[in-house]
C-alpha cells in the first residue's frame, strides 16, 4: 500500500530583498512585478525537504507537490520535481488576490481529486502575507487533525510521531493519520539541491494543471469563500528602528534594556 504525501508550495518575492528596494503598489496592494526574483518560500522549502526525507526514510512512498498560483510560479513545481517529487500539480489562479480561506478551498478541492493522501505538509506561513492559516484551514475542511510547527516525523506502527515547537518547549506528539502538519525551519531542513540529471529531467516532466472551474469552483463560489478583506497595504516610513538607551549609570542602562525587552515580550522572566 503506497503512502502518499502532498506538499503545499507557494512562490513569493525574494525575502532577502533589500528593504531599500521594497515597494508596494497602492493600486494592486502588492509589490510591483520585477522587484526581485520570485522564489519558493523558505518554510515551503522546509516542508518540501521534510517530505523528501520522509520518502528517503520510507515513512511515505510518494510525494506530490501542489501549488495554487499564477502561471510563472510553476518554477517552484519544477524545483520540486528536480528534487524527486513524484508528481506536480498546478492550480492556475492569480494567488495574489486570494485570502487564506480561498486558497484553502482550492487546495482542498485539488486534494480531493488527487490520490488519497495520508499526510499534507505545508509551511508554517507564507513569507509574503504571513497569515499562517492555509495549512490549518485545509485540515479543518478535510476533517483531519493538524499539528503546527513540526520539524521531525517518524513512523510508529499506525501513527506518526512528530516533534514540534511549542511555547518554550519541544513537544512530541503521536498523530493518527491522515493529518496536516505545518513545518517550521530547522537546521536539518535545508532544501537539498537536485542532481543535475533530475534537474534536467524535471524540465520535461508533465505538470498536471487544473483551473478552479475544473475543480468545481466557480468564480462566485471562490469569491464566497473569502474571509478576509484587504483594505490597504503600505510601507511604513523608514526610520531606524534602533532605540538607543542612554544613561551614565551602567546599572540603570542594563535595567532599562531588560525592562524594554520584557515590555516587548522578547524576554520572559519570572515576575
Amino acid at each position: 500500500m503506497s503512502v502518499h504525501a502532498v506538499v503545499l508550495l507557494k512562490e513569493i518575492l525574494d525575502w532577502e530583498l533589500p528593504p531599500s528596494r521594497f515597494r508596494i503598489d497602492p493600486e494592486t496592494k502588492r509589490p510591483p512585478d520585477g522587484l526581485g526574483p520570485m522564489l519558493l518560500g523558505p518554510f515551503e522549502q522546509n516542508a518540501l525537504e521534510l517530505a523528501l526525507r520522509l520518502k528517503d526514510a520510507g515513512v511515505v512512498d510518494r510525494v506530490t507537490a501542489l501549488l495554487a498560483g499564477p502561471a510563472d510560479s510553476v518554477d517552484a513545481l519544477r524545483k520540486a520535481l528536480s528534487v524527486r517529487c513524484d508528481e506536480a500539480v498546478h492550480v492556475a489562479v492569480d494567488a495574489g488576490g486570494l485570502d487564506p480561506s480561498q486558497t484553502a478551498e482550492l487546495l482542498v478541492a485539488a486534494l480531493r481529486r488527487l490520490e488519497p493522501a495520508e499526510l499534507v505538509l505545508a509551511g508554517r506561513q507564507a513569507g509574503d502575507w504571513d497569515h499562517g492559516q492555509v495549512g490549518y484551514l485545509v485540515a479543518e475542511r478535510l476533517g483531519w487533525p493538524a499539528v503546527g510547527l513540526v520539524w521531525r516525523v517518524e513512523r510508529d506502527d499506525g501513527r506518526l510521531l512528530v516533534w514540534r515547537s511549542g511555547v518554550g518547549a519541544v513537544e512530541q506528539l503521536a498523530v493518527r493519520p491522515p493529518a496536516v502538519f505545518t513545518v517550521t525551519s530547522h537546521p536539518s531542513l535545508q532544501l537539498r539541491l537536485g542532481s543535475v540529471i533530475d534537474r534536467m529531467a524535471a524540465n520535461k516532466k508533465p505538470i498536471t494543471r487544473w483551473t478552479p472551474e475544473e475543480l468545481g469552483l466557480s468564480p462566485e463560489q471562490l469569491a464566497g469563500a473569502r474571509r478576509l478583506e484587504l483594505a490597504s497595504v503600505w510601507v511604513p516610513a523608514v526610520e531606524s528602528r534602533c532605540e538607543l538607551i542612554e544613561g551614565e549609570d551602567p546599572a540603570e542602562v542594563a535595567a532599562a534594556v531588560l525592562g524594554r525587552l520584557e515590555e516587548l515580550k522578547l524576554l520572559t522572566r519570572p515576575t
Binding site: L173, A179, L228, A231, C242, A251, A254, L264
Partner: protein
Amino acid sequence: MIVAVTWDEPRLGPASREVLGAAVRLGAALGEEVALASLGADGSGAAEEAGGYGAAQAFVVEGDHAASGSEGAIAALAELARDVAARVVLLPADDRSAELAPRLAERLGGSAVTHAVAVDVSDGRPVWTRPVYGGKALASVAAASEPVVATLRRGVFEAAQATGGTAAVSTRTAQNGDGAVELLGSEAPAAGASLEDASVIVAGGNGIGGSDGFTALEELAGLLGGAVGASLAAVDAGWAAPDRQVGLTGKTVSPDVYFALGISGASQHLAGIGGAKAVVAVNTDPDAPIFSIARIGVVMDCRTFVASLIDRLQSAP
C-alpha cells in the same frame, strides 16, 4: 461578547493583561462586554482577577488541554464562544495560538487574523493592522465573517487598567479530543543548547577583548536561558570555539533576542542573524553598522554592560 483567552496563568500576568486591555477597549468601541477564558493549569487565579481589569465574566476551563495537542482547547473554546455569542476572540500570538487560532475560526465559521499589531473600529466592525512581507509592510484587514479570532503581537497593546470591578466566574470542563493526537512529552531546551534552537543568544565580538570576557558571557547566557555565540573575529582570536560562530561561514540563527556585544556588524556576520526577532547592539562605536539593524542600541563598553546585566539578573527578584 469579546473573549480574551489566557493559558496556564495562575495570576493575570502582563501578557494576559495586554490581551485583556485590547479586549476591553475593543468591547467599549463595539458596545460589547468582555469575558476572560482561562485555560490550563491553575486557571482560576487569572479568572478571579479578570473582573478587576474590566471583564464582565470569567470562565475557567479545566482539564488537560495539552494532552490532545490543540484539539481539546479548540473544542472548549469553540463551545464557549458559541455559548457567549462571541464576536471576537483574542489570543496572544505565540507558537500555540499559531495553530489554534485559524482552526478555531474555522470551527466557528468565522475569520482568523494573525499577528495583529493594532485594531480600530470602523463602521461598527474591527479593522486590524498586521505586518506583511516579513515586516517590510503593514496591511489593514477586516473580517468578512464573524466571529473573528485574532492573535495579538506581544508588547504592542496597552495592558488593561485596574477598574476595581468584579466578574462572575464559572467553571467549565474541556472535552477530550477523539484521540487522533496525543501529547507524549515535552521538554524545555537546555540552556546553552544549540545556537539554532536558542531563543536568546548572547554573542561576543572583538569588543569582548579576551576569553575571560566569554566566561562572563557564559554566565549571562545561563541567567537568560540562552546560548553563547561569537563573531568570526572572536573565534579567530581564540576566545570562542568555532562551533559558536555565527555568520556567513558559521551558523544561521533565529532567536527572539540576539545580544550583539562588541560586534561591529560586518555583513558577513549579519548574514547569520537575519532571523533574529530583535538585536540588542552594544558597541563603543556609535557608527558601527550593527546599530542600523538593531532594535535596541547601547553605546557603551560591552564588558561593562555585561557585568551590569549579570548583576541586575542576579539581584532582581
